[in-house]
């Protein structure tokens, strides 16, 4: 049994943000009290040994749930695999991660869904839930066997990495997925508008002579998919929203009651195109970093609930791939290990976002939308949780990262505010920034 004394609990699922004593037993949250004596704890323990943690000055919250990660297995294990990715997850404070389907081969049938799920179970760190493709071979044509894949453990369907260009296919997917109750996740990118672009189209791309991706490459698909969701009543989730226009469109659709949720990535909340140098491949990401105005719109959208979730879009790549001229390097930022700390330091500390809202958007909302365990510390809830030390500081060092990837813009930089203990189903899996062995 665990006794977390005097810890500041943030649990938006019960509108709680206050100091508490928390008892964990048998993989579940047992009880939570405003004050407790050792005698009372021992009585409840009934002879079981009690591990006591002094939580003063620290936060306890439900483990983060990341609905958008690329774990690269099967097929691209040089970048990441399910074991290294799920270790990176718990090091960063994530207890559940959804793995995108654009692996090699793509996850478009039940056998592959079960493979990913079982690799996650074998790894035994974060809960790893597979996302299946929407279309066979991710070719944008015929739909996959959604019901069978759900039975195998699929948490959602997405052709992420590729947009479903054919609007009729997208419409059919939103209709058919109703029998599963699972969301369709849209990649939100018109491939013709995006073209061979390397960064957001604007004055910075013009100056650097890099091909630009106009903001409309995202927002025209957002508009299309919102209309299709409205017409079909299907369950739509919009991935990595990055433009002002998309935020406005989503806000309007929500006001009309359309069944949609949307996510934003940490890097779009923190960086913008003006900060990029011509060799900064660590900041090369898709969708590309937008303008300062976009960044402000995204923060506002996250504050007012237009954007429901934060998700990392953890996209690991090898050093060799990122050590290339900008146009030749792949898109993506590996962020599981740094994202929470970066959001804390860049947005919570300066007062742009409340920590309560961050936890709601990164744990409670994903659990609700995707029907996942976690996202709450109510008595009886699964003990997936994070102890966060706002004073813990660390230089992001390639020798410390447990992901296979090093493609983070924070490499060599100091971040402050880290998860220092992480439990999955009541089992301690990370302590003082070290992922515990099995």
């Amino acid at each position: 049994m665990w006794w977390l004394k005097d810890v500041w609990v943030i649990d938006p699922s019960q509108t709680l943000s206050a100091p508490r004593h928390v008892l964990i037993k048998g993989g579940q949250v047992l009880e939570m009290f405003a004050s407790m004596t050792e005698e009372e704890v021992l009585t409840i323990a009934q002879g079981e040994s009690v591990e006591t943690i002094n939580g003063e000055g620290k936060f306890l919250f439900p483990g983060l749930i990341d609905v958008h990660t690329h774990l690269r297995e099967p097929g691209q294990e040089e970048k990441e695999d399910i074991l290294s990715g799920s270790r990176a997850a718990v090091r960063g404070g994530f207890t559940t991660i959804l793995a995108m389907a654009n692996t090699k081969p793509v996850i478009d049938n039940r056998a592959l869904i079960e493979f990913v799920r079982m690799q996650g179970e074998r790894a035994g760190y974060a809960h790893v839930l597979p996302i299946g493709t929407v279309t066979k071979g991710m070719q944008g044509g015929e739909l996959v066997e959604m019901a069978d894949m759900k039975a195998g453990g699929a948490a959602a369907f997405s052709d992420d990495g590729k947009n479903i260009q054919n609007a009729e296919v997208m419409r059919l997917a939103l209709e058919y997925a109703k029998i599963t109750g699972l969301p369709i996740i849209s990649h939100c990118e018109d491939k013709d508008l995006a073209g061979e672009g390397q960064m957001r189209r604007g004055m910075v791309s013009a100056r650097m002579g890099l091909k630009g991706i106009p903001a409309s490459a995202e927002s025209v698909i957002v508009a299309r998919d919102l209309l299709l969701a409205e017409e079909t009543g299907g369950k739509l989730h919009l991935a990595h929203i990055s433009t002002t226009e998309s935020v406005d469109l989503i806000r309007q659709a929500k006001a009309r009651g359309v069944n949609i949720t949307a996510e934003v990535n940490p890097h779009h909340l923190i960086f913008c195109d003006e900060e990029m140098g011509i060799t900064d491949t660590a900041l090369k990401v898709n969708p590309p970093l937008g303008s300062q105005k976009d960044r402000e719109s995204l923060i506002e959208g996250l504050r007012d609930g237009t954007l429901d979730m934060i998700a990392t879009d953890h996209a690991p790549h090898t050093m060799a791939e990122k050590s290339r001229p900008f146009a030749e390097a792949p898109f993506g930022i590996a962020s599981l290990e740094t994202a929470l700390s970066a959001i804390w330091q860049h947005l919570v500390v300066p007062g742009r976002l409340s920590f309560e809202r961050v936890i709601e958007a990164w744990s409670v909302s994903p659990a609700k939308r995707f029907g996942l365990p976690g996202g709450s510390l109510k008595p009886g809830a699964i003990a997936d949780m994070v102890l966060f030390d706002p004073d813990f500081s660390e230089v992001i060092d390639s020798t410390q990262l447990v992901s296979k990837a090093r493609n983070t813009p924070f490499l060599g930089k100091n971040l402050q505010g880290f998860p220092v203990m992480v439990w999955v189903e009541g089992q301690l899996v990370q302590k003082n920034r070290t992922v515990l062995g099995k």
């Binding site: 189209r201 630009g212 060799a320 290339r324 001229p325 900008f326 030749e328």
Partner: protein, 311 residues
């Protein structure tokens, strides 16, 4: 002034003093170049590597000649026959060149930022001979050198750059260089090739050539990449040429003895008519000669060290 740089990658981050220093050095180099016996011992024992990932006749030859006149050993790596065609990355090629102890590497590459990428890896100096659509600093320097040679101080004068500005490293480098020296710069071309975000370079933008020609001291035509038509950026060469081709008739609108520049190679009768290209106003061959002088100056400044041939 004392030269401090290891590399010449872009005009954007250069000071006016540095630009002036290069132009001054190039003037001396041009005198040397015009001698009947043009060979100096200045850079004897120095090695210059030409690493050209894009086809180039004039720029590569120009750098080779510049190095040879100064007495350096120049090696050209023909990428098609090298290990690059076996898939070697620029990173590994850079490491290999480093290990051969080259003193200076001249790079041309189709990716924007590749010159800086190489310079960050190498201890040797790097000159950018054109990186993607980003920068072509030696072209901008030879252009301003040519303009000043003909027109004197360019401060307050007007330069019109016509054509596919969006995809042009020549236009970008010229915009930085000319504006630093007080020149009024206008980019003109169809909105698909001169989009509004080019304003970020500080220049004026226009889509009607005839309306911006009056008062132009220099009109520079850019090479039109013919494959742009296929991607829908303009409908036909015919219409492009009607709207933006430089003709004798059209150039009368400048109402002065303007000079005509072109970075080459030209598409005759597309962006520039035969008549204009071969006229006395067009200084296109002079640009080529001055290009050698500019490149001699840069090679000398970067690896000439303590020798004082131009003191």
């Amino acid at each position: 002034m004392k030269w401090q740089r290891k590399d010449v990658l872009a005009i954007e981050d250069m000071s006016v003093d540095e630009i002036r220093h290069i132009l001054h050095t190039a003037k001396v180099m041009k005198e040397i170049l015009m001698r009947p016996i043009k060979k100096l011992p200045t850079l004897k024992g120095k090695s210059v590597v030409n690493l050209f990932y894009e086809a180039s006749t004039r720029t590569r030859t120009s750098f080779e000649m510049a190095g040879k006149v100064l007495g350096a050993d120049t090696t050209s790596i023909a990428v098609a026959q090298s290990s690059v065609s076996k898939g070697e990355s620029l990173y590994d090629t850079a490491k290999t060149i480093q290990a051969m102890r080259a003193d200076l590497v001249i790079i041309r590459h189709s990716s924007s930022g590749s010159a800086k990428f190489l310079a960050d890896i190498l201890d040797a100096g790097v000159i950018n001979a054109g990186d993607g659509q980003h920068a072509h600093p030696t072209q901008a320097l030879l252009d301003i050198f040519t303009m000043e040679e003909q027109l004197g101080d360019m401060n307050g004068k007007k330069v019109v750059i016509v054509g596919d500005v969006l995809h042009s490293r020549v236009a970008r480098s010229n915009a930085w260089c000319l504006q630093k020296l007080g020149v009024d710069v206008t980019f003109v071309g169809p909105p698909t090739l001169v989009p509004f975000e080019m304003e970020g370079l500080g220049v004026k933008l226009a889509h009607d050539l005839d309306s911006v020609l009056p008062g132009a001291d220099v009109v520079m035509a850019l090479r039109l990449q013919l494959e742009r038509q296929k991607s829908g950026l303009f409908p036909s060469l015919r219409e492009y040429s009607q709207l933006y081709g430089l003709t004798t008739e059209r150039l009368k609108k400048t109402e002065k003895q303007s000079i005509i520049l072109h970075p080459g190679p030209m598409n005759r009768n597309v962006e520039i008519s035969d008549e204009v290209a071969d006229s006395a106003q067009a200084l296109i061959e002079r640009q080529v000669t001055n290009g050698v002088a500019i490149r001699m100056a840069l090679i000398y400044l970067l690896i000439g060290g303590s020798s004082n041939v131009v003191a």
